[in-house]
Amino acid sequence: MRVLKNTLLAGALTLAVIAVPAMAQQKTGTTILGVTVLAESSLTVTDANTTLAKTDTLFGDFTGTTNLKYRIRTTASGGSGSIVAQVNEFTGNGPKVAADLSYSSTTGGLGTAVTNQAASTTGANVISFGPNARSAKAGNDAAVNWRLGDDPQFETGSYSSTVTFTVSAT
């Protein structure tokens, strides 16, 4: 009887000693970081104001350049993107947007440019992008080269318009 009690007690203590290190066996843990990257775009108009000027003073065209910097990522499969310019109408008896103002664009190495595109008060493409288009990390430089015909019908004076550029990506 005495021997048995002692054995049981010793057995219980042995179990307790083994249990302590067993609880602390886990040394590492892992986690999975997941991320979903979607189509995105951003645009900065580098030139806040663009002045149209002429070199040929005898009814030559007025020209000027607006510089843009854009970043774009379109969906790898089936995506697209664009930069669109919407030009507000000039005021007064001067030039009219649709009739007198046009532009060509440069893309900064990505997308498709336009040539002699008539300006629009409702918006027209400046650059278009296909699927999986990805600009440089710091952005790509683009430019809009404006051309305004100098019609003798224009009254003398200064005219201005606001152009809104919109970039989008899907």
């Binding site: 290190p21 886990q26 843990g29 999975i32 997941g34 979903t36 990257v37 970043r71 995506g79 990390k137």
Partner: protein, 180 residues
């Protein structure tokens, strides 16, 4: 009949009387208990978290990740928790940890010394999360951590590089706790 019964009862009582000294026997056993508590640690992290970006275009993807840990260090020992990318993002063609695109910062640790500054995750080196002093222990305060398990929050940041193609990517991180 009645005498017989009484006799039997007496026999029963005698038997009980013989047992009583056995039950009342007193045994003193002196048992020496020796437990060796070695430096050790364990940690728990969420099985997965999702990095999300804000409303601004090309804003970084971020997520907070809590690390729960229990640790014991020796009188002359120290402890540490580190993190390393087990492998690169998958599928291939997306972000790569070895370009320095995935970083984290440590919130102030309630116990131990949290990492300072911005740490960059890669697949080749273990980056610090928290360092523990000698005689570290978790729970109860008074030199140990105030809570058991102790915890530290990490803020992960994945740069939203425009050159990354659209898609869903994941990377596994391994956290390691070591105590001496």
């Amino acid at each position: 009949m009645s005498l017989s019964l009484a006799h039997c009862s007496c026999v029963g009582l005698l038997a009980f009387a013989f047992q009583s000294p056995v039950l009342a026997d007193s045994l003193t056993v002196t048992q020496s208990i020796n437990v060796t508590l070695s430096p050790n640690g364990k940690l728990t992290v969420p099985s997965s978290i999702t990095l999300l970006n804000g409303a601004l275009a090309f804003s970084a993807f971020t997520a907070a990740l809590p690390v729960l840990f229990r640790a014991r260090t020796s009188e002359s020992g120290v402890g540490s928790i580190t993190v390393q990318a087990t492998s690169d993002f998958s599928p291939a063609g997306g972000p790569s940890v070895n370009t320095g695109i995935l970083t984290y910062t440590c919130a102030a640790a309630l116990y131990g010394t949290a990492c300072s500054g911005t740490q960059t995750i890669d697949t080749t080196s273990q980056r610090p999360v928290v360092n523990l002093p000698s005689n570290a222990c978790t729970g109860g305060g008074r030199g140990c951590s105030p809570s058991d398990p102790a915890s530290i929050d990490l803020q992960f940041r994945l740069e939203n590089d425009v050159s990354i193609p659209t898609g869903t990517y994941s990377v596994q991180l391994t956290f390691t706790v070591s105590c001496t």
